[in-house]
Amino acid sequence: MRGLLKLATVMSLVLLSGCAFVRANLGDELNPEAVEAIQRGVSTRADVTNRLGAPDRIVQVNDHEIYQYYRYDLKSGTILFFSRTNIKSDDLYIVFNSRGIVDDVVFGQRTNRLKFQFWPFGD
């Protein structure tokens, strides 16, 4: 019995020795409730920054000021000689009109579909 236990322990160590699971992220998670609280035609730049903090990027597009918030999430799996790393981003755009009031909110969430995988072939 003790032999079997030893064998199982060593087998586990052997199989796990070529194994790695890695997780990393850039930026804080964008809180969907905070995003929903931003109201078109009502919220101001100050309301937005109070709820979400300073934007990661400010762009001027089509005569509108746009605040962009983004976040990246990484999941990586390695088993023996196969390795796969998946990275996805969440992007939030808040479009202001010339009076500094929110004109539009566009939120795209991809990280909720991020998976741990190790098999590098196929889609």
Partner: protein, 186 residues
């Protein structure tokens, strides 16, 4: 070999120890099994083959944006179907939405791997072929000043991302040499 060595031949072996020796045949066979597994494990831990892939965002295929009709589809239609873009920029004729996605593949093989067992420490024993490629792709959607799609364009570099071990072939150079040959033939 292991199966015959590990088969108990004496009832005293069922306890894992013989009555006369601290290290009986069964213990020895288990020890060899453990050593074998350790060798296999250590061998696989530094294995000579590597397939690695890195994907950034999901690939957007032309059929995914076939619904886009220039002059009719709006920014909100595009966002609803494809998601928020990774970047928004401005152009003379209106906004541009950038969707970035990337597929990186690399393959590595070390033909000198077996030499590790024979070469003394400190002596280089690697014979490595290693090649990788990143297929950076981008979908650009151009809008007019009213946020209606004017045009959509794909940047295609998918062929750069393949599992290949041979690092020496260069299609551009081989094409050039064929052109040189053709030039010489005149």
């Amino acid at each position: 070999m292991w199966s015959s060595a590990s088969a108990p031949t004496d009832s005293s072996f069922s306890s894992g120890r013989s009555g006369t020796s601290a290290c009986g045949p069964r213990d020895r066979s288990q020890a060899w099994l453990l050593v074998g597994l350790l060798v296999v494990g250590l061998g696989l831990a530094g294995c000579p083959l590597t397939w690695q892939r890195v994907s950034v965002n999901a690939v957007i295929k032309p059929e995914d944006v076939s619904f886009v009709v220039p002059g009719r589809t709006t920014f909100h239609d595009v966002v609803a179907r494809v998601g928020a873009p990774d970047q928004l920029s401005d152009s003379d004729s209106g906004p541009v939405a950038h969707y970035h996605f990337l597929d990186f593949k690399r393959f590595r093989v070390n033909f000198g791997y077996l030499l590790k067992f024979f070469t003394p420490p400190g002596v280089p024993d690697d014979i490595i072929l290693h090649r990788g490629g990143a297929g950076t792709e981008e979908l650009l959607v151009f809008f007019d000043r009213n946020w209606v799609v004017r045009q959509r364009v794909f940047a295609h570099n998918a062929n750069a991302s393949r599992f290949r071990a041979w690092p020496f072939d260069d299609p551009a150079l081989s094409q050039e040499s064929e052109e040189d040959k053709a030039a010489r033939s005149f």
